[in-house]
Amino acid sequence: MLLDVRDLKVSFDTPDGVVEAVRGFDLQLAAGESVGIVGESGSGKSQSVLALMGLLADNARVTGSATLQTDSGGLELIGAKRRALERIRGARIAMIFQDPMTTLNPHLRIATQIKEVICRHRGLRGGAATQAAIEMLEAVKIPDAPRRIRYYPHQFSGGMRQRVMIAMALACEPDILIADEPTTALDVTVQADILDLMAELRQRTNVALLLITHDLGVVAGQCERLLVMRAGEVVERGAIDTIFASPAHQYTRDLLAAVPKLETPHFARVSS
């Protein structure tokens, strides 16, 4: 098992008392596997994975266990030292977020930002690092990469910025890619391009994917297994075909029923 998460709980101390964001999250992820996590706003899907990466706010309290397979056995991520997590983030587990504009530094050229990852984790410098960065951009199909690597983030469209993020995330050949609503901010044709790209890169690199989204259409095409979250708990888990064909939990059924279908009109038409 590449990643084994057991009974993960996340709560936040707030002036109004303790808020329990995640109340029991379990996940077993094998190498190369693709697992989707769906749920509505506030269901705890993002907080669960941020907890794994040690990226939660200071007032968060995390309990439970998350073991990442390493050469020397396993590394416990929950409560791990900052230095240990810094070696993991980017190198073993990489993450991409919803809004590529706010996750890229607007003051720095794309080249500087990709090279930072390559220098830190792969130890390349100077021309070699630049060359590696250009190759990464070409791998995510950014046209004219040698010239565009000198661009600033605002000079790219939303889809191209998300490609840059994917290039950075995959620069160190991580074992796990966590994608938190990676296409939510994108137009539908651009979303399709990015999803195709992710599927292709996954096949080539065998990276395991943890895809967080509210869009059941996106997980249907990308994932083998699915976790449905609601109010901090996993209410249903299983193979993607099983869940879509015969959802066991009432919430999953409601969620599937609420998705407007492109093929046939779905909302009851109100007659005047």
Binding site: S41, G217, A220, V259
Partner: protein, 344 residues
């Protein structure tokens, strides 16, 4: 008299003819004027009481600019806006003011479009104070309370502030604010994009009920094609400021004629793993051209898999195709045949 599309003049409440919204881009060097950014470039539409026109297209296609132009929030460059047989003088503020009560709008971000320092009661009362000044205070309070209840909120919430509400509730407040003056036209710019699916369904349902009740003409702008299909009687597809295709909702979704419509529909991920695995997508090569420098001829030709040499020379006008579709494509016949060939 009837229009080309078969609707009679008496049916159309708001009619837009060849509307253009061009933004000047600072002059060039040596005093030469730069060509303007054509955000909306020759769009015509009609809104009819009790019916919904859906407007779809991706970022930068001009759909929000069009909505803003129809409410006087961006200056119109040329074209006619006719409301109930009165042509709006779009360069005269007074002409717009006459329209304010009849044409209202709701926005994408429900929280950002509400003043955080006003209570719900004040927010919903504000349009009445300005647009129905003849109403007594008691009458106003009564109408506000009735409208708040009508959109599914409780009267006990009337003195609360927007931040105390969820996104879906904020959108209900936005709907109440728009409908309290009893408009005839409601323009919805991405009204459910920021909401969870279960909330989306409820807001769409509310809009449909209110439309049926008051006979409002709706312009429903969204990038989510499935939502647009659910609510719209007719759908218009825009790309780079121009209309690519227009047809009754079911016709457009079942038999798309324009290559761009086909590409859009083929890109929508379906919530069904079996369909997803066999889905064949029409990929669009390249990137969206800048609207400041659009391609000659058909604006879609640089990304169109069916583009021919004549597409660069000739700008396709919206023309009749089949019984109910209007399409701006020189080769729609070939495109549709191709579709049948691949589908079979």
């Amino acid at each position: 008299m009837r229009y080309e599309n078969g609707w009679s003049m008496s049916e159309a409440l708001l009619r837009v003819d060849d509307l253009k919204v061009h933004f000047p881009l600072g002059g060039g060097w040596f005093g030469g004027a730069a060509s303007p950014l054509k955000a909306v470039d020759g769009v015509s539409l009609e809104l009819t009481p009790g019916r919904t026109l859906g407007l779809v297209g991706e970022s930068g296609c001009g759909k929000s600019t069009l909505a803003r132009a129809l409410t006087g929030m961006v200056p119109v460059t040329s074209g006619d806006i006719v409301f109930e047989d009165n042509t709006i003088r779009h360069d005269r503020a007074a002409s717009w003011n006459a329209l304010r009560r009849d044409v209202q709008m709701i926005f994408q971000d429900p929280l950002a479009s509400l003043d955080p320092r006003m209570t719900v009661g004040q927010i919903v009362a504000e349009p009445l104070r300005h647009l129905r000044p003849e109403l007594s205070r008691a009458d106003r309070t009564r109408r506000v309370a009735a409208m708040i209840e009508r959109v599914g909120l409780s009267q006990s919430q009337i003195n609360r502030y927007p931040h105390e509400f969820s996104g879906g509730q904020c959108q209900r407040i936005g709907i109440a604010r728009a409908l309290v003056v009893e408009p005839k036209v409601l323009i919805c710019d991405e009204p459910v994009s920021a909401l969870d699916v279960s909330i989306q369904a409820k807001i769409v349902e509310l809009l449909q009920q209110l439309q049926a009740e008051f006979g409002i003409a709706l312009l429903f702008i969204a990038h989510d094609l499935a939502v647009v299909r659910q609510i719209s009687d007719e759908v218009m597809v825009m790309y780079l400021g121009r209309v690519m295709e227009r047809a009754p909702s079911d016709v457009l979704f079942d038999t798309p004629a324009h290559p761009y419509t086909r590409a859009l529909l083929s890109a929508v991920p379906r919530p069904d793993p079996t369909i997803e695995r066999s889905r064949r997508r029409i990929a669009l090569p390249g990137e969206l051209p800048s609207p400041a420098n659009p391609p000659s001829g058909c604006v879609f030709r640089t990304r169109c898999p069916w583009a021919q040499a004549d597409c660069a020379a000739q700008t396709p006008a919206l023309r009749a195709f089949g019984e109910q579709t209007r399409v701006a494509c020189l080769h729609a016949e070939t495109v549709v045949k191709d579709r049948l060939a691949t589908a079979g």
